[in-house]
């Protein structure tokens, strides 16, 4: 470190000599005289463009840090910048590959080129630690089989390298042997929800160090698809953050340390519903909770919660609820119930969707909430955000509740964009 500093200060000296004149000017606009001047103004004085190569002054760790956020292709390209950069990319601790093709055929060279490219990168890298591996692979044509066999080799390589973070986005069927990657701390698997052939996970239970887990669209419930047959146990005692979208074939264990939970699922299968509810009711350490599920699942969740009131969510700070058929007043009771069990809640986001009459989702019930919402107050709530598609979908009972909640409340209402609404209703895969 000391050497580094000396080196830098030496360079600084040389630079000073070169730019004596500029420096003097800088001194004259001394910084004290700029007190109270807004930042933008200050910067005008601060930035003398001396036309110097400053990026080469950066220590190698910082340069590697920067390169690790670039796609691997871009980071290799920097080897041509100058001598200092020539071998830098070989030590970058992360690999990031992207492939996307609408209609590839085996004759089209780009698919083969992609596979060769990844192979070559593995070959030419030096022995520096590899901590992150990301692949995004969207192939709507031929060549998937060769990808599968290569992919197997890559995962073996990264398992040997003891990666900490693995991120895969794809639309093809894959077999992933995760039990050998015991060092993983972050795992994100995003598959195309609409595709029938999806990832085949052998086991997630070996991942003792996992802190962040995102599963989206994997083994989505398809008609006539027996859930019991492909149940996968997940047990990760240190998990902090869990994102689950459209996957319900998992049984979960030991999620007690969870602090962030996002669930999005439109299934109405009772086994799946009870599993998801189990995750929520076990989450006594939750700080952030987002729920985007079907109408029937909501009532199931509330019933489950009522059954085990003993553990309120004392750590809960933020709740995001997507309520389907929100024009039904019977939501009011259950939301109040949930709020009462989150005594330290600070922010509530409610996204209201009206039921679709063409799908028979009319709310013809005319139920009166048991509690009068205007009498409800919450001790810590500071902000409520309402996202709506039509103003009248949030009925007067809702408004009463929200206005009554707390006098110092910040109420924000955001109209939902039409396009986004459609996306949300059908749980379309996230935009890539």
């Amino acid at each position: 470190m000391l050497d580094q500093i000396n080196e830098i200060s030496h360079k600084d000296k040389m630079m000073k000599q070169q730019n004596e004149h500029n420096k003097e000017q800088l001194h004259m606009t001394s910084v004290e005289s700029l007190e109270g001047v807004p930042m933008e103004e200050k910067l005008k004085f601060v930035v003398p463009d001396l036309g110097e190569d400053r990026i080469s002054e950066l220590p190698e760790t910082v340069l590697l840090h920067i390169l690790s956020y670039l796609p691997t292709k871009d980071s290799i390209r920097t080897s041509l910048v100058a001598k200092r950069w020539r071998f830098l990319w070989k030590a970058v601790p992360s690999l990031n590959f992207q492939f996307s093709m609408e209609r590839s055929s085996l004759r089209n060279p780009s698919h083969k080129n992609f596979l060769d490219f990844v192979d070559k990168v593995f070959m030419h890298r030096d022995s520096s630690a590899l901590s992150k591996f990301c692949v995004s692979y969207f192939n709507y044509g031929a060549g998937v089989i060769s990808f599968k066999s290569r992919f197997k080799l890559w995962t073996e390589a990264i398992a040997r390298a003891k990666v900490k973070s693995l991120e895969l986005r794809f639309n093809s069927p894959l077999t992933l042997q995760l039990s050998t990657m015991e060092t993983l701390e972050m795992l994100r698997l995003v598959a195309n929800t609409w595709s029938r052939q999806n990832l085949n996970l052998h086991s997630l239970s070996g991942l003792r160090h996992l802190k962040v887990l995102k599963l989206a669209g994997i083994l989505n419930v398809i008609r006539n698809y027996s859930i019991k047959d492909c149940e996968i146990r997940i047990s990760t005692p240190r998990l902090k953050s869990f994102f689950l979208e459209g996957c319900s074939n998992f049984a979960f264990d030991g999620f007690c340390s969870l602090s962030k939970l996002v669930i999005a699922n439109n299934s109405s299968d009772p086994i799946c519903v009870s599993r998801l509810c189990k995750i929520v009711t076990a989450g006594t350490h939750l700080k952030i909770f987002s729920w985007r599920c079907s109408y029937s699942m909501w009532s199931e969740l509330v019933e489950n919660l009522r059954a085990c009131v003993a553990t309120p969510f004392t750590n809960m700070k933020q709740l995001c609820l997507h309520l389907y058929r929100c024009n039904c007043d019977d939501y009011v009771d259950s939301v109040i119930y949930l709020l009462e069990n989150c005594p330290n809640l600070e922010k509530l986001v409610i996204t209201g969707f009206e039921g679709r009459p063409d799908l028979g989702e009319h709310c013809d019930k005319n139920c009166k909430p048991a509690t009068d919402p205007s009498n409800f107050t919450h001790p810590s709530l500071k902000e409520i955000e309402i996202v709506y598609n039509r103003k009248d979908c949030l009925q007067r009972e809702w408004l009463k509740l929200l206005n009554g909640c707390s006098p110092r409340l910040k109420l924000k209402r955001t109209p939902m964009k039409k396009r986004r609404l459609v996306e949300c209703q059908y749980f379309a895969p996230p935009s890539f």
Partner: protein
């Protein structure tokens, strides 16, 4: 916050000799300074030999802001607390108008002083500047002198041909020559 009576002050000297006086809590945002202060080996002026005054000003601005956020976050009603979105927007604003050479100096400073948040802001900005650029564009942006001879450059291109071939950037460039 102004009513607090005794606040220990710390003095920092930039590479070009300017002395800044800041509250201890502000200085402690920088892990390097925190370590020094806790070991009590810093009661006079702390020289920060690799950071010029204008850069140090910006670094201190950042630290002051961090103190402002964290000092009140323990109380339940904190007007300064930011959501993730607000934090992002603030970071963008903080980095707005920072040119490439200032950015590099900020990175050197935050690396030396060990201020993770500022380092990450700088790295983010740097990544957005470099991404998808030709080597020549990167050189121009940061005034890097190309110290390769044409032969050496050709050699690297050949060595890494697998990485450059069919690279739209490379193709475009070589065809424009």
């Amino acid at each position: 916050m102004s009513e607090s009576t005794e606040k220990k002050m710390v003095r920092l000297r930039s590479s070009d000799g300017e002395v800044f006086e800041v509250e201890e809590s502000v200085a402690k945002v920088a892990k390097t300074l925190q370590d020094m202060l806790e070991e009590d080996c810093a009661d006079a002026v702390i020289p920060i030999t690799c950071v010029r005054a204008p850069i140090l000003t910006k670094v201190i601005d950042y630290c002051k802001d961090q103190v402002m956020i964290s000092s009140s976050s323990s109380t339940t009603n904190n007007p300064n607390e930011r959501t993730e979105q607000e934090r992002k927007a603030w970071g963008q604003k903080f980095m707005e108008g920072v040119d490439s050479s200032t950015l590099c100096e900020l990175l050197v400073a935050s690396n030396f002083l060990n201020i993770e948040g500022l380092l990450n802001l700088g790295v983010d900005k740097m990544v957005s500047m470099i991404q998808g650029k030709y080597p020549q564009e990167i050189r121009d942006m940061f005034n890097v002198v190309n110290d390769f001879t044409p032969e050496e450059e050709e050699e690297i291109r050949n060595q890494n041909a697998w990485a450059f071939e069919r690279d739209p950037y490379y193709k475009k460039r070589s065809s424009s020559k």
